[in-house]
């Protein structure tokens, strides 16, 4: 993985010093609270309902075991013994004391980590496919470009006061999008043109929140050497023309929608022609320098075994289920990618304890070249495990309570903090997710239902990505009571779609039953066990599910209410 040199170290050290000064000028009154807010946010400090929250950047989700140990140490020393994996491959501490924050930042800097630009109206952490560098279906490893973008975006002087936050994601796998690039402000896909040259397809204006939008293509093929100058032009058009009068209309998706993609593209291309300089072109030397950090680890040459199939069908059912659900194919023969699920009954989705983090660091050292990856579904990946060692690894994970065989299954939920932590919430989301996990926590049922995602947000800000859940749940307020809207049909991937509301909002004591009814109907009507839940919904439409939940497909009875 990328290693800081003296330049990178100086930048992060000087930033920590700068922030110390800013905190003391805030305390002396030279900076007002209002003026301090963007400073605090761009250093990762967010104000929550009960306390400050510190969001630490994990560039493209990649961590070394040393970094994981440091994150565990911080959780133990400065927080309540746990941290929270976020949907953008970052990690959050929910209870740090303001006075401890400079020390936490020093601790992070000692392992080449920081919290800069994890909040605020700036370019945020760059995210990527969590199987980057190992996926069989990958054209090229996107991480060198993520790192180049990370450096470019870090303290970019022109784009630190954008109308709103700005998120970029990259994937190098044409076949499957695991980075949700179509729901980012800019999504980049590494593609090959007719001449066999590699470049980027550039998508723009995707996002969730109040107004979910699927990104559109602004440039079909961008030669790689131009990618920084082109992204600058997109940001400049946004910086100059994005709305600043209304925070809810300030994201780039609103500008792209208002102008139309053709006019937006024209403005970007016009700016690009006028602004790109030869110096801004990426050099082969820089690409080679950064790529060298992502060279494959020293894999052994192993026979391509079919042991995975053997284990799945073997006598140890628990191991078999885990291999079937949580182990993914690897581009190197004899190796596998392992998803370590932290979604365990009774634990809020995404929470990991200090002891679990320490244990995972040790497993990474012993099984996976010391690397761990955070997924945007709030789990962890051990990327390079020998297939022959899977059963040994599983036994260790099980002993740590990390052996859940539920990756991409019903209980692998995504949830926002909701009413328990968030002052914008209409409804609780964590307790609901725990209830769902409890109701469906039977492995045979999970396997039978197959791949399905449930995503829950406590209000329309959509931190839990409910729009792109195959099943989305949105908390709404109905005359002061917590209600939930049920949505079906969302998907964050190559087949991107935004879920639609099934019918009237459901009360707290109805919503889990409704999910069960929807799944029950799916099991009855799917064409075969290969037809995923999402495919069935797309094939048959909503009526059978409306009947299942509301007893009728009558549009009046099942009508969605405006929330």
């Amino acid at each position: 993985m990328y290693q800081y040199d003296d330049y990178d170290r100086r930048i992060i050290t000087e930033r920590a010093q700068q922030f110390r000064g800013q905190v003391s000028r805030r305390l002396s009154g030279e900076i007002t609270e209002e003026e301090f807010k963007p400073i605090r946010l761009q250093n990762g400090l967010y104000m929550q309902l009960h306390a400050y929250m510190l969001r630490v950047a994990i560039p493209y989700g990649l961590l070394s075991s040393t970094q994981v140990r440091k994150l565990a140490h911080i959780a133990r020393t400065y927080d309540r013994g746990y941290a929270h994996l976020t949907t953008r491959q970052n990690i959050q501490y929910n209870w740090p004391k303001l006075t401890d924050v400079p020390s936490i930042l020093d601790e992070l800097a000692s392992v080449e980590m920081h919290a800069v630009q994890t909040s605020g109206n700036c370019v945020r952490n760059i995210t990527a496919d969590h199987f980057a560098g190992i996926a069989r279906d990958e054209l090229e490893d996107p991480r060198p470009y993520c790192e180049i973008l990370r450096q470019w975006s870090t303290f970019h002087p022109e784009f630190a006061n954008l109308p709103r936050k700005f998120k970029i994601a990259i994937t190098g796998a044409p076949g499957e999008d695991r980075a949700a690039v179509r729901f980012h402000d800019i999504g980049l896909r590494i593609v090959e043109n007719a001449a066999g040259e590699r470049g980027f397809e550039v998508l723009v204006g995707g996002g969730l929140g109040r107004t979910p939008v699927i990104a559109e293509v602004v440039r079909e093929f961008l030669p790689k050497r131009h990618f920084l100058s082109f992204i600058e032009s997109i940001l400049r058009v946004y910086n100059l023309h994005g709305r600043r009068d209304n925070k809810f209309k300030a994201r780039i998706k609103i500008l792209v929608t208002a102008l139309g993609i053709a006019e937006f593209r024209r403005r970007v291309e016009e700016d690009w022609e006028a602004s790109r300089t030869p110096e801004l072109e990426l050099t082969d030397a820089e690409v080679a320098r950064v790529s060298a950090f992502f060279a494959p680890p020293p894999y052994e040459s192993l026979p391509a075994t079919d042991r995975v199939e053997g284990i799945v069908l073997g006598r140890d059912r628990e191991l078999g289920n885990w291999v079937r659900n949580n182990v993914f194919s690897h581009k190197v023969p004899g190796y596998s990618a392992v998803v370590v699920s932290v979604k365990k009954q009774g634990i809020p989705p995404g929470d990991v304890s200090d002891t679990q983090m320490d244990a995972i660091a040790s497993l990474a050292d012993r099984y996976s070249f010391g690397h761990v990856v955070v997924t945007h579904t709030q789990n962890l990946v051990l990327p390079d495990v020998k297939t022959a060692e899977l059963s040994k690894l599983h036994a260790e994970l099980r002993a740590l309570d990390l052996g859940e065989a539920n990756a991409n299954k019903l209980t692998d939920l995504i949830t926002c903090p909701g009413l328990d932590y968030c002052d914008l919430a209409n409804a609780r989301s964590i307790p609901l997710s725990l209830e769902i996990a409890e109701r469906f926590d039977r492995i045979d049922y999970l396997n039978d239902v197959g791949d399905v995602s449930i995503k829950i947000s406590g209000c329309i800000n959509a931190c839990g990505h409910h729009h792109v859940g195959n099943i989305g749940i949105l908390g709404i307020d109905k005359r002061g009571e917590e209600f939930y809207q049920l949505m079906l049909g969302g998907s964050p991937g190559n087949d991107a779609s935004i879920g639609k509301i099934l019918g009237r909002a459901l009360a707290q004591d109805e919503i889990v039953d409704a999910v069960e009814k929807v799944l029950g109907r799916y099991l009855e009507i799917r064409e075969s066990t290969d037809e995923r839940f999402l495919d069935t919904v797309r094939r048959v439409g909503f009526d059978p599910f409306k009947v299942a939940v509301y007893g009728t497909a009558d549009p009046l009875e099942a009508a969605g209410d405006a929330a």
Partner: protein, 159 residues
Amino acid sequence: MKIIRDRTIVDDDFVHVTDGSEQAAATKPIVPLAEYVKSRETLLARHAAVGVRVPSDKLPSDIPDLQRLALIAIEFPKFTDGRGYSVARMLRQRHAYRGELRAVGWVLRDQLLYLERCGFNAFEMKPGKPLDSGLEAFSEFSVRYQADVDDPRPLYRRR
């Protein structure tokens, strides 16, 4: 009034003027963009140096004859309004504007370095904010990743 110009605290030799009689009296007036657009020939002929004050929603293309201006002041109605950073960079890089580029309005110490990197060389700080504290801001970072107005080479061409 004191301002920061080229990283030094100096007395301002320009004056902001709004109405016609004040304008005529000033040697170096800074006039609103609309005023300048209306009577720029008179202004440029009458004064040794003319400055123009540009609202935050205007672009370089909205400023006629900008090469004849001694000073362009970009307004920051709110410290979070980042449009001026792009406008400054365009003025310096695309229009090769060499005169004084001044940030006015809600200008804070913690913005000075980024403003300077985008091409501003003069700053009217928000009233009440100490200027000497502002001077320290310019040297808080010794390395920068990006190309900027001072140096068009990103770090990867200097590494």
